[in-house]
Point group: C2
Chain length 336, copies 2
DNA sequence: TTGTACGCGTTATCAC
DNA sequence: GTGATAACGCGTACAA
């Protein structure tokens, strides 16, 4: 069943049927109706491949999540939220989403080839690409529109991305602890090969400096965006007697809580803990986490809209969007 | 840059280039090498749409997650794990994954039309389709291979699916509580419009009956696969003094723990709690959850392999696969 | 072993 | 307002 068949049944040419389907002008109302009825009756839907061949458009956007470790190692709602935001915004403009997820066991090189050789997408969204990922070197040469989620580690000026102001957010988190009178404020970082992790560390240092507090390397633990890293980090930091911990992510903070619990350290009485992201675990943790909220769902939505703007030619040149963050005060820092 | 261009540069015909690309026989080693080199040098990759048009294959499998409520309302790693398993198995056979997620705000009807009219997939996987979903009535008429994750609510005989033996698993959970000497065993169900929820309830009843214990409707709370339902359910059940709760899902159990905590009911001393799934929160809950583990990642893998088997013509007719479950004993039930 | 020629189902560009 | 007809890029019988 194709255009030709419909045309024959309607007693018109295939051109006319095509025009009807694409809501093109120059079709009389009566023929348009007649053709529409036949299409409806036959449940006809044009062949996507044929259409893509000639229009060079597939109405599909590729989404790449290179590192999925968090999915396995933590109760992390970050990726699902991002996907939900992306999917929602893409569907609103009748695009579909082609998803590639990296594997822990897999070599990234292979994934990268799959992605960049797949000609069935009009544009691409990359989420949280680490600085050492092999895809990095290929980003600039790809012909299809690309939007990064989170600030790229390299070439940030030449790439479109949506992120948050992590430096400022890191400052906010640390300032909150300072305002509570904490003096020995530790920081457990996320991946430093992701700009987010780096920038939050920068914000932490800025805040200390601005407050005239010393920056003590003993109080900085280079971690990863995992609960396990938070756990190990807190175990390590306890010897240096921190009175507060700024965790680079909520999942990190969960590990911190657990290590503190095991060591008999009371949160927030002995040590204030602040997280980052405000993902679901922040509310269910005991005590509930004070944290910096970032709009994850919205990040996905905006990324989708940005790539669609590029695909549809509504924007040109790289664009950078920073979304606002917000301090959410709960129980883990004490009176706030 | 297309086949023709490569052919010209290599001094051969388009057909030969096509043969080389598709590893077809009847090409001399020397020409094959020469053509390969040119392809490599030009970084040529055949146009997917053109190829799909003639082969009627896209090497894309569609994955539909109709209801994503859990993503938003609970710290739920179920979907990510499923997606990871699917993605992994699909990629292993060089297929890509087209993902549709339902929206809380959206009408399912629209999503359904999008999915069933999208001609760019060779097969489809549906995850946890509820009995009342509008897609139900269209499942049997769809021409492309379909695999359901979890037993379909209707027409289970005519559809391929991968699931677990939820009845037996429900029995196992309940039997464990019985073996611990519990007498007033309550059950908070998941969605009863999902077969899984229903079957686990059935297993619960079976186990009680087999043990000669009464089935008390007051001790059965019809919930949903949400933490909130677990919370509400436990609040409600407390008046009937249960000494154990079988939660239809781990996220439900998390809500149970919270409600118990707030009511001053000690877990497991006063009430044993057993969950279902063994998703991440089971290990991080306090106390750690005793639960029935189901192989979520593997469910995704198997579903992918099943749909690929159908697409590639390796199997015919509907197939049903049940994966094994396992009792995981932790802290929330007491000595076990 | 290699090349020719046709068809896949659609859109776009013409003529009418 | 409508209908031929030429692409789009590839796979593949069939001929050479």
């Amino acid at each position: 069943m194709n255009l030709e068949d419909i045309a024959r049944k309607a007693g018109v040419s295939r051109s006319t049927v095509s025009r009807v389907i694409n809501d093109a002008p120059n079709v009389s109302a009566t023929t348009r109706d007649r053709v529409r009825q036949i299409i409806e009756a036959e449940k006809f839907h044009p062949n996507a491949a044929a259409r893509a061949l000639v229009t060079r458009r597939t109405d599909v956007i590729g989404v790449v999540i290179p590192s999925v470790e968090n999915i396995f190692f933590t109760d992390n709602s970050y990726w699902p939220m991002l996907l939900a935001g992306l999917g929602q915004a893409l569907r609103a403009e009748d695009y579909a989403m082609l998803l590639w997820m990296g594997e822990v066991t897999d070599n990234d090189e292979r994934l990268m080839r799959k992605v960049s050789n797949h000609h069935m997408v009009d544009g691409l969204v990359f989420a949280s690409l680490t600085g050492d990922h092999p895809m990095q070197s290929h980003l600039l040469e790809m012909r299809s529109p690309i939007v990064m989620i989170d600030k790229p580690y390299y070439n940030a000026d030449c790439l479109s991305y949506v992120s948050i102001d992590n430096v400022r957010a890191g400052e906010m988190a640390t300032e909150h602890l300072i305002k509570l009178g904490r003096k020995r404020i530790a920081h457990i970082t996320g991946h430093l090969t992701i700009t987010d992790g780096n920038d939050r560390l920068q914000g932490y240092k800025n805040a200390l400096r601005n407050a005239g507090l010393p920056i003590d390397d003993n109080l900085i633990y280079e971690g990863l965006f995992h609960r396990d890293a938070g756990y190990a980090g807190m175990k390590h930091l306890l010897q240096f007697k921190p009175d507060a911990v700024f965790a680079g992510g909520d999942t990190i903070a969960i590990g911190v809580l657990q290590a503190a619990h095991e060591a008999g350290v009371r949160i927030p009485d002995d040590v204030s803990v602040i997280g980052f992201d405000d993902i679901d675990v922040a509310r269910t943790a005991i005590p509930q986490l004070t944290t910096i909220r970032q709009p994850v769902l919205r990040k996905g939505e905006v990324a989708a809209r940005m790539v669609l703007d590029m695909v549809e030619g509504r924007t040109q040149g790289p664009q950078q969007v920073l979304l606002p963050t917000e301090l959410v005060i709960r129980k883990s820092c004490g009176a706030g």
